[in-house]
Amino acid sequence: MLLLSGIWINAVLDILICLCLLFGTFFIVSTALGVLRFPDVYTRLHAATKSSTLGITGILIGAFLFMYVEHGIVSGKLLLGILFILLTAPVTGHVLGRSAYYSRVPLSDKSVEDEYKSNLEKVKEH
């Protein structure tokens, strides 16, 4: 209202904010369903890191656009939060999966192959 003069532009941006929020909510709910339904720690980790990153990116971009369009506030903390999540979520997933493997959490019955185990044996031989 303050920065963009046209009413139509404002209405379209409002609808864009709604779409961002609903997109993020969809991916966060699908994260919860994946963590609840997958059979294994490693597949749960796959669901937990990737889609939750996408979901929180959608919601925080929606919040940033809302602050900018409706009130003219540029809130850099929201963009910094997106950057931080994008940096730390893969690291967290890797560290948690590695600790789960070394504390001997078994794979599920449906999993076909354990490549990491054969690689470790190959490293031990040399």
Partner: protein
């Protein structure tokens, strides 16, 4: 012309309410996995996702209350979540968090 702006404003309000309800439902599902989870690593994964969902909830509350004072909370939860998860993973793997190789 003002009618359209009122319509889109109420659309934003409705979608924020829908998003808060969805994030709350996913928090309940993750809480079930945290309590039940067969091993401790499952609980660690579910706690990580609970932290990310709380960050999303703080962003949605910042929209709902129209304030920017909640935005610090998002960064703070993110940093504490990362450090806590790395410490928890080291504890699950080795049984200690800070190792001393000196002696």
């Amino acid at each position: 012309m003002g009618d359209i702006l009122n319509l889109t404003q109420s659309l934003i309000d409705i979608s924020v309410i829908i998003a808060i309800i969805g994030v709350s439902i996913s928090l309940l599902l993750l809480l079930y996995r945290t309590v039940k989870g067969p091993t401790n690593s499952d609980r660690a994964v579910a706690l990580d996702t609970i932290g990310v969902n709380i960050m999303a909830l703080a962003g949605l509350i910042a929209i709902h209350l129209v304030t920017t004072k909640v935005n610090d909370v998002i960064l703070l939860i993110g940093i504490l979540l990362f450090i806590g998860n790395v410490g928890l993973a080291k504890f699950l793997e080795k049984g200690v968090i800070i190792e001393r190789d000196m002696d």
